[in-house]
């Protein structure tokens, strides 16, 4: 690819430079179980509104055991997962209009790889600090965090770095050390 042909691609993927730095520096799982701040509650409500669940409340989750219960609950709302999947598909379509598929997938994979490499250890340490030694649960947390990084990357590319997309908001909660557990029993559970 010539330099002039590559320039638009470099520009389209530029928002990922900032995101990768944020993935590296995030306080993954460092604030789980602590009292929610006003900013976190605001972000949680903004995520709910953005996803079409404005009437749902925000429910703090106090510990790893309860977080596992919420994530395993049969009362979880499939609607929020499906709503995220729809948004993901729409963002992929949008991004694919300006970025060739191979380059797009490669760029997203690099964000996922980075997130995968930093989140698992952080989750295991945070759980161990709370007296929880559960290999599966720390992997579940890391999987959720990496998924969020991927979604945020997609939102950053497709929305020109705008950070009010629900995926950007969810990533911000992870970045602040939280684990958003989604909607269950009519409330957004935030660990």
């Amino acid at each position: 690819m010539s330099a002039s042909a590559a320039a638009p691609l470099v520009a389209a993927l530029a928002p990922l430079d900032d995101l990768r730095t944020r993935v590296r520096l995030a306080s993954w799982f460092a604030a789980v179980g602590e009292t929610l701040t006003a900013a976190e509650r605001w972000d949680a409500r903004a995520w709910l509104a953005g996803m079409g669940f404005a009437s749902a409340g925000v429910e703090p989750v106090a510990d790893w055991g309860r977080a596992a219960e919420v994530a395993k609950s049969p009362a979880w709302s499939r609607e929020w997962w499906e709503a995220e999947e729809k948004r993901r598909a729409a963002l992929l379509d949008r991004a694919a209009q300006s970025i060739p598929e191979h380059e797009l997938m490669a760029a997203l994979s690099r964000v996922m790889e980075l997130a995968a490499s930093v989140t698992h250890g952080a989750a295991a340490i945070a759980a161990a600090r709370a007296g929880v030694a559960d290999q599966a649960l720390s992997r579940v947390a890391a999987g959720a965090a990496a998924q969020s990084a991927y979604q945020a990357a997609l939102a950053a590319i497709a929305h020109d770095g705008a950070d009010e997309h629900p995926f950007s908001i969810k990533f911000r909660l992870f970045e602040a050390g939280r684990w958003p557990l989604g909607v269950s029993d009519g409330a957004f559970h935030l660990f």
């Binding site: 994530a71 609950s73 997962w81 790889e113 959720a144």
Partner: protein, 235 residues
């Protein structure tokens, strides 16, 4: 008998006999291709099939770890001078165990239970490999492979607690298990002879297959209290 050689660094591979180099390259290519293809046809699609966020996120993590294994093998291959495109499923045909058409969460759990057990055996056989970069990679990969098989065992154990789940898991075992013995290769295999001649691998294909059949029986019949289907004589 060939004098055993040990290659401690990838840079020293150039001084090894051609047969040794080719054998190591075959293994690295095979692992790179199959780790990637397995993640693409089983682990990634299983995220949608998983019944709860817990299972979805855990599957997501497992998919990333499998993809990570591909990356590790691919990087080793690149250090060895293998072209990256040779380490993709489009260039080299993946194993037949990936031809199983995944349609349900129960099937995925059985795949993790049995196929990842088979993968553990393959990786175990490299733990004393005379090409140390491959040996080291096998040692790094092993804890994650064990976790993936444990994932299969844990979810299958949960599923068989209900009659409906029990039937679905048994049905998946009946259809998937017969595909697995072939994963270990032919009883008479020139490749395996060469691997053992150079100490790259330790066991014959039949020894590995027998070990797998025993461990699978222990898991399925002793632990899960289900039945393994009979295998064709050729297996």
């Amino acid at each position: 008998m060939t004098e055993q050689i040990v290659v401690k660094h990838t840079a020293d591979l150039k001084d090894a006999p051609e047969e040794f180099r080719n054998a190591v390259a075959k293994l690295v290519i095979s692992h790179a291709v199959n780790e990637l293809y397995g993640a693409q046809v089983f682990d990634e699609p299983a995220i949608a099939l998983a019944p709860t966020p817990y299972a979805k996120w855990l599957t997501c993590r497992v998919a990333m770890e499998e993809y990570g294994h591909h990356v590790r093998f691919r990087e080793l291959g690149e250090e060895m001078g293998i072209a990256p495109e040779k380490m993709t499923p489009s260039e080299k045909r993946p194993l037949s165990i990936f031809e199983f058409p995944l349609q349900s969460w129960e099937e995925f759990c059985v795949i993790k239970l049995l196929a990842d057990l088979a993968e553990i055996l393959q990786v175990e056989d490299l733990l004393h490999c005379t090409f140390h970069p491959l040996r080291n990679l096998a040692r790094m990969t092993m804890p994650e492979e064990r976790f993936h098989a444990q994932f299969g065992e844990d979810f299958c154990t949960e599923l068989v607690a209900t009659e409906d789940g029990r039937q679905k898991v048994q049905d998946a075992i009946d259809r998937y298990y017969p595909m697995l013995p072939a994963f270990f290769g032919a009883s008479v295999s020139r490749n395996n002879e060469i691997f053992r001649k150079w100490g790259i691998k330790q066991r014959t294909n039949d020894e590995m297959r027998q070990d797998f059949l025993g461990r699978a029986r222990e898991l399925v019949e002793d632990k899960l209290k289900l039945k393994l289907p009979p295998l064709a004589a050729a297996a």
